[in-house]
Symmetry: C2
Subunit: 415 residues, 2 copies
């Protein structure tokens, strides 16, 4: 069982023991929260900036860490005037610095590489870090943010899968909150406010089931990248869309839930809910199940994480009157072997979780390049896991070493 | 807008701002809660006693107020040995006293009438009052319990409809919690723990829609009591089953929600959900909707009210894996004019809410006796409401006077 970052108990809620009229609004004055956005040119980064735009009295931008998209990084820098911007390489950083100078924008420091991302996430002026760099690339900067005592909104599930034990230990030690931005875990976070941690019986993660819920099993080997990239409800990046089709994505979320909410894998279950309207559910020991329902728009969990424990009014409303049917089905473990592999890795923890994620990333890339069939994705993962020794890395460097070795093995297998 | 008993704000929840490992269970020692059960021989009373039976380390019985069922009151008294028992009349009380003496049961005081029920609800040894006497008959004892500073679990919605303004004012003044036992309001209470009161946009009460959701409108006039008494999902008393068929029951719940949760009628809406699995939902201003799902068993909301803020483990579990479909539809106000009448009464408050409930009780009885058709129920209520002056009674006596006058008028109309 992984060492996990716990949620506080809520036994002292005292909801109905006060009879006195409460004020209509929180009386505490709102202070501007300065954000460090890691992965600012990606989908979550852009959604975060659209929230900053919508709530200028609540949020401003302290730093932006982008990758290779200089055009977007330039536009964001001009628009949001952060103190610090980081790009993937020295060349890209130099290009951005020149373009800023030509545009007459001064006083902005431009850095690069993983040290640059760490500088962004640990900037003393930043009050809150949005961790949205895809893959383990975001791990170091996220870890550094926690070590620096910064609250983190975590959109990067690979961080929690590969290094959840390290991140949660650091968060525990420094009393730093990690708020989930993944829509499922964000829903779980909300539903867990309705009872004590020890009263949680099962965390139910909903899964769309992807495009192949009803595809005959014998056709799985001939599924093409074009077919797998058509997700029925969410518009997402390429890897996460394929992970959604294999349900490995849900497997990573099982591991993420164990770590974020400090529960064993046996307490996390998956229900296939094709409408993607119920984002997850929490079942309590007394028999009550709480569910969170909303539009499928990542701005909602981002806003929740940024504003917690407040809920600002948004235009992201869901018209319940339009709700007609909600379906829930048990997932088919034969159809989706990645789910089984994820549970096995969750039970073993440590290196197995790292290898699950790393091997999948390589296998998905190989599938997209038509080097292996769709069914080659779980096969590759299973073989990498079989040769991964049980180990529990305690530093980010050790995590990255296990990650590298799993990638190397997977690369050999798909070659 | 009614003066309502408010829920406290929860802004200080601080869910994720602690990184320290929380203990697995509440550390506070459990103390035995002594219950006063008003309406002990009814369905809610019996369910409450089954919970006492299941959790002997948590609950015991201080007093029982029953009606005319001496056999059941005798059996309950022998089994639970309360200090005090009340029956409807002096004759019934005398009969119980004799039977207890013959059975060798001593030391139990037997009282009667409304003073008897008040004695039960205000017994100094009682820690918690379950208010489950049907109709306004339970009003005086419930009001007295609040005045005596006792926390109340409220199953009697007529109390809140007829005298919500008085009860909530008293609860506010004495800082006494009122915990809803109605399954819908209990669900709302749970869902309201996930945000601040001012952040609630809409309370969605679910309604089964009763047996006539799809009956052609032209057949409504010929609906028989036998047809109306067949409720699709809940097994309940006769009046509430008919109220469910006319949806007047949901109308009373709209008014109850306004008062329990301190919201205007415009913030309470109804969604028809034939499976009766989602017991209600709360929509927040940020776009999140929280829903509570459980088995259709009243022991669950009773246990929640008794144990709040804890959740004891129960066997009332809902197998989410068996969940297949959930439907939600807009209610048809043309088919169910009682819903419109309830919203109108909720807007006017005071006497109109009292008259709505009183006129309905008389009209339902007349329908069950085949003196008026099914469509005569809303007709009678509408005519009584039309001749009810706007007024806001401030004492229980004034409430009962308005109630009496509305009954008299309804009685004349159905004669």
């Amino acid at each position: 069982m992984p060492s996990c970052w716990p949620l506080r108990r809520y036994g002292t809620l005292n909801l109905s023991t006060s009879g006195s009229r409460a004020p209509d609004r929180p009386v505490a004055p709102k202070t501007l929260k300065k954000l460090a956005i890691l992965g600012s040119t990606g989908s979550i980064g852009q959604s975060t900036l659209s929230i900053v735009e919508q709530f200028p009295e609540r949020y401003s931008v302290a730093s932006l860490a982008a990758g290779r998209n200089v055009d977007e990084a330039f536009a964001q820098t001009v628009r949001w005037r952060p103190q610090l911007v980081s790009l993937a390489s020295a060349e890209l950083a130099a290009e951005l610095a020149v373009r800023l100078r030509h545009a007459g924008v001064s006083g902005i420091r431009v850095v690069h590489g993983s040290e640059g991302a760490v500088a962004c996430s640990t900037l003393p002026e930043a009050d809150f870090v949005v961790s949205a760099i895809v893959g383990v690339a975001g791990l170091e900067a996220t870890h550094a943010a926690i070590l620096a005592g910064k609250p983190v909104g975590l959109a990067n599930k690979e961080c929690m899968v590969a290094a959840g034990e390290i991140l949660t230990a650091a968060a525990r030690e420094r009393n730093v909150p990690i708020l989930p931005i993944d829509s499922e875990h964000n829903a779980v976070h909300q539903c867990m406010r309705v009872g004590a941690h020890a009263e949680v019986k099962t965390i139910w993660l909903t899964a769309s089931g992807g495009p192949f819920r009803h595809t005959p099993l014998e056709q799985f080997a001939s599924i093409t990248p074009e077919q797998a990239l058509k997700h029925p409800t969410w518009v997402m990046g390429r890897r996460i869309t394929i992970d959604s089709a294999t349900m490995l994505n849900k497997g990573l979320e099982i591991i993420e839930a164990c770590r974020l909410f400090d529960v064993p894998p046996g307490k996390v279950r998956v229900t296939v809910h094709p409408q993607s309207t119920v984002h997850s559910l929490v079942e309590y020991v007394d028999g009550s199940i709480l569910a969170q329902i909303s539009v499928t728009d990542m701005r909602l969990p981002i806003l929740y994480a940024l504003a917690y424990p407040e809920r600002p009014a948004s235009n992201l409303t869901f018209d319940l009157a339009t709700l007609r049917h909600l379906d829930f089905e048990e997932p088919d473990f034969q159809r989706f072997p990645c789910l089984r592999l994820a549970y096995e890795a969750a039970e073993k923890g440590g290196a197995h979780c790292i290898a699950l994620n790393a091997a999948d990333e390589i296998a998905v890339e190989a599938f997209l390049q038509r080097r292996i069939p769709f069914t080659g994705i779980p096969d590759t993962i299973e073989r990498v896991l079989a040769s991964t020794p049980e180990a529990h890395p305690v530093t980010v460097a050790e995590v990255l070493a296990v990650d590298w070795e799993a990638r190397r093995q997977a690369g050999t297998l798909v070659a």
